[in-house]
């Protein structure tokens, strides 16, 4: 049994009783990475020397809180001072950040120890982590399959026991989908709940940082440390961080669950459907009730998302020009030529495709037909959620239409890849919080995830339901054999 099979409160009590030390925890992490990361390929960079030094210092200083002394992995689009940050892109292959993201500062205050940076789809664009410029991460449950994406490294590292938890980011499902594929717990908080300062921007109106953990309780503790308004991010909301973990009572009597018929319909595999229906039975047994509802504009989510996210990305990624940092092409004749060569050589195909789609959607003559139209449909999708939340406490459905697909299976077919996010994208468009928790296994042994969606800033309730379900089932206790 690994130390990381224990939840945080148990690990802290082991530290208190001197059964385990903080250097032991960090050592466990690096030993496990040495043993399995050759297969899983979750990490892009390790910070072993600094982590071990911090562990010694933390042990000497005595513990301060629930996260104190616990090793963590960080998605490589979150900047870490003195630790290379690439967003898995060639264009940032040599980038050493000169400041820490706000979440990294918050983690330091909470006492976690960063062991390294985790692989992802380049600039978080993708659903399989196959778009990384550096390596393909593999699903710990079956190495022939993808871990999901874009936070594939973050989910795989937690599932493989390399770290007890990690940070991911979610623009259209990039925390929840890989959490589902890897059988772990992944939370996309309400838009504005967590500061985006230091998160390399993809689509600023959709991006959120969130925790990936082995269980719901740890996830609640980690979000508590990350949440809060930040003067460096004017879109962060001035809503006080609550004690999410204190709400985990196991009691969901009287809970009103909405199940959108669009989330169990066409395109959703039968075994995924059955796992969700079984989960609803468990929740009924705990005193909740559920009814079928409609989110009528769900089917327009993917098209809306790709127009909006790509438009925002085309603007955000304009900063990568070979001038101030990152890769610069050789042999350019003039400045425009330098930009063009640098970006052509530095970006991968999916990133180029989205930059061009976004540039097209924002260009003169097409703006109203594509960009503005998508913004209007976004209003309708947001209203779908408001209508349902007027009568229900949470919305429940699958996280993904199928379990993890094979590496290479759909990488050449962008539209099929995009369709993978059909159940997670509307949540980002509406800005509400959503979590994925393990809810069973497919016939081929790969994990399935249950998605629980709440009202704006109602993470406490989402966690309460996720925790009650988790405690009533054993799926989260299963571990991949590596």
């Amino acid at each position: 049994m690994s130390l990381f099979d224990h939840k945080l409160t148990e690990i802290q009590s082991m530290i208190d009783k001197k059964e385990v030390s903080i250097p032991d925890l960090v050592d466990e992490s690096f030993k496990r990475i040495a043993a399995v990361d050759g297969d899983v390929k979750a990490f892009l960079a390790l910070d072993e020397e600094r982590a071990r030094k911090q562990a010694e210092e933390a042990q000497g200083a005595g513990k301060t809180g629930i996260l104190s002394g616990i090793p963590i992995g960080i998605k490589d689009n979150i900047v870490t001072k003195g630790l290379r940050t690439t967003a898995a892109s060639q264009i940032l292959h040599n980038f050493d950040p000169i400041y820490d993201a706000t979440v990294v500062n918050k983690l330091r205050e909470a006492g976690t120890i960063t062991v390294g940076k985790l692989n992802m789809d380049e600039f978080a664009m993708g659903s399989s982590t196959e778009n990384s410029s550096f390596q393909k991460t593999r699903n710990p449950w079956n190495l022939a399959h993808v871990p999901g994406g874009s936070s594939g490294g973050s989910a795989a590292a937690v599932a493989a026991g390399e770290v007890p938890f990690s940070l991911g980011s979610d623009t259209g499902g990039s925390i929840r989908q890989p959490a589902s594929f890897c059988g772990v717990v992944g939370m996309k908080p309400t838009y504005g709940r967590v500061s985006r300062f230091g998160l390399i921007a993809f689509a600023s109106s959709l991006d959120q940082i969130g925790p990936i953990t082995r269980n719901v309780e740890d996830n609640a503790h980690l979000l508590e440390a990350l949440a809060g308004v930040d003067p460096y991010d004017s879109t962060s909301a001035n809503v006080p961080a609550e004690s999410f973990a204190a709400g985990l009572t196991g009691d969901i009597k009287g809970l009103r669950i909405a199940v959108p018929k669009e989330y169990l319909g066409e395109g959703v595999s039968e075994e995924v459907r059955q796992s969700v229906l079984a989960a609803l039975k468990v929740l009924e047994g705990l005193g909740a009730t559920w009814e079928e509802v409609s989110l009528p504009h769900s089917k327009y989510g993917v098209a809306t998302y790709y127009l909006l996210a790509s438009s925002e990305a085309s603007s955000n990624l304009a900063r990568f020009d070979g001038i101030r940092y990152g890769y610069r092409a050789e042999g350019a004749e003039n400045l425009i030529d330098l930009y063009k060569k640098t970006r052509a050589e530095g970006f991968g195909d999916e990133v180029k495709r989205r930059i061009m789609l976004g540039t097209f959607a924002l260009s003169s003559g097409y703006y109203d037909a594509y960009y503005k139209k998508a913004q209007q449909v976004r209003t309708l999708i947001k209203k779908d959620f408001e209508d349902v939340f007027a009568s229900y406490d949470v919305i429940i459905g699958p996280t993904t239409p199928t379990p993890a697909f094979k590496i290479g299976e759909i990488i050449d077919d962008p539209l099929t890849m995009y369709a993978n996010d059909i159940l997670t994208i509307p949540v980002n468009l509406a800005g509400v919080p959503g979590i994925s928790v393990p809810c069973g296994f497919a016939e081929n042994g790969l994990p399935l995830g249950l998605q629980i969606i709440g009202r704006h800033f109602d993470e406490k309730n989402v966690y309460r339901v996720a925790h009650a379900y988790e405690q009533a089932t054993d799926f989260h206790k299963e571990k991949p054999k590596l």
Partner: protein
């Protein structure tokens, strides 16, 4: 009917400051055409009276006090610049 031509793809690549090969023009035209055709399903919806959403939270005019604070250190900032001279970032000539 195609939604986007090879000529338009070349123009968009120029706007986006991406050098692009003839082969890429061909592939990207096909793929972007498929994605744009897919996106046109939004035209099934009448949105004539719908306000656009650019931000999901009800917040506007986030202000702070106009107080000075130290910025980033120049040495540090230059650390990541690919080409530099005398404390400044160097670029190829802009004017012929």
């Amino acid at each position: 009917m195609t939604r986007i031509s090879e000529e338009q793809v070349r123009h968009v690549a120029h706007l986006a400051r991406l050098a692009i090969t003839d082969e890429e023009v061909h592939t990207f035209t096909e793929q972007l055409d498929a994605i744009i055709t897919f996106a046109e399903q939004l035209n099934e919806l009448d949105t004539s009276n719908v306000q656009p959403t650019s931000h999901v939270l009800n917040m506007k005019n986030v202000l702070r006090k106009d107080e000075s604070a130290p910025g980033l250190d120049r040495e540090e900032v230059l650390k990541n610049a690919p080409d530099q001279q005398d404390g400044q970032i160097r670029v190829p000539s802009i004017i012929e």
